[in-house]
């Protein structure tokens, strides 16, 4: 089973991205926020998002979205098991997205090592706070040269580009 994991911080657009490319109504586990993240958004994912897409050659790719908060890191382990690659979404509109990028790259370091990753900078449609080159420089310094894309998580085309880029990386 080909399974891709979507990870990244709260509000980066993981649930939105999976919904954008999904062929079926996605399985969602969003519940009411009762903490300070309620200021960012009303609902948050507590177990997973699930959906799938079918490639032109008929291969079905299963998509699993993770909860963003690290109190749910046990779900990261569960969902990443047997995954073939990672789509890491980072909210470009955040005050310190590089810190977030570093955090999730570290958290998924083993998984990335075994598989592969592409990075999507979401909310690029509403924010130009941080230039994409900052992210590329950051990765270069870490000696982690991964593909980075500007995306709008609501755009089917943008998220398809990410998924296809990941599959291309994995086939190398």
């Amino acid at each position: 089973m080909d399974k891709i994991i979507f990870a990244g911080p709260v509000g980066a657009g993981k649930t939105t991205a999976i919904g954008s490319i999904s062929e079926i109504p996605p399985v969602g586990t969003d519940v009411a926020c009762t903490d300070e993240s309620a200021q960012i958004k009303e609902k948050t994912t507590v177990a997973m998002d699930y959906s799938y897409i079918t490639l032109d050659d008929g291969t079905r790719i299963h998509l699993y979205g993770t909860p963003g908060q690290d109190r749910f890191d046990f779900m990261w382990q569960i969902l990443a098991k047997d995954g073939i690659g990672l789509v890491l979404l980072i909210n470009r509109d955040h005050p310190d997205p590089l810190h977030q990028l570093g955090f999730y790259l570290n958290a998924f370091a083993d998984f990335i090592q075994d598989t592969g990753v592409v990075i999507g900078l979401t909310k690029s449609d509403i924010s130009d706070k941080h230039d994409i080159s900052k992210f590329q420089d950051f990765l270069y310094e870490r000696q982690q040269i991964f593909p980075v894309f500007d995306v709008d998580a609501r755009s089917e085309d943008d998220i398809k580009v990410l998924v296809h880029a990941l599959l291309a990386v994995l086939n190398h």
Binding site: T29, V31, A32, T34, D35, A47, Q69, R71, F72, F74
Partner: protein, 149 residues
């Protein structure tokens, strides 16, 4: 409903604007509910009240059980159960039962934003612990409603 009357009594003396005080009253009342639950049945060994998004609100867990992990795991499990129940045409989740080799665990909703996870010893019948747990969820739900109003 004695507990609820206590709360109404207490918060009427408190300035509701003072959120921290409300939180303290809430924590005390939740502790009382858990204490009552644990003394109601010898079969119940531990319990935790958490929010639907996975924060611990009150707990009577064993020393080596991390409340933050159990709160988060409980919310994840119950959220998935709700999906299975509703997509399977079975309505809402009344409870989730985990039958472990060394005891049983059940999870229940406690009003719209909270849940209760109860751990039992390897007891024979689940009836009484479940009934007491259900009662506790009603108390939690009523308490939250009072505090939200």
């Amino acid at each position: 409903m004695r507990i609820i009357n206590d709360v109404i009594e207490q918060i009427s003396h408190t300035n509701l604007e003072q959120d921290t005080q409300t939180q303290e009253v809430l924590a005390q009342e939740l502790d009382k509910i858990l204490d009552a639950l644990l003394t109601s049945s010898e079969d119940i060994s531990a319990a935790i009240i958490s929010s639907v998004d996975g924060h611990s609100k009150a707990q009577r867990l064993e020393a080596d059980m991390d409340e933050h992990r159990f709160a988060a795991m409980s919310s994840a499990l119950l959220a998935l159960s709700d999906n299975i129940a509703s997509e399977g045409g079975k309505g809402n989740t009344e409870n989730v039962l985990i039958e472990g080799t060394n005891g049983k665990i059940f999870l229940l909703h406690a009003g719209p934003k909270h849940l209760l996870t109860v751990f039992t010893h390897n007891c024979g019948s689940l009836g009484m612990p479940l009934a007491y747990a259900k009662q506790a969820t009603e108390q939690i739900a009523a308490l939250m409603e009072v505090l939200a109003s």
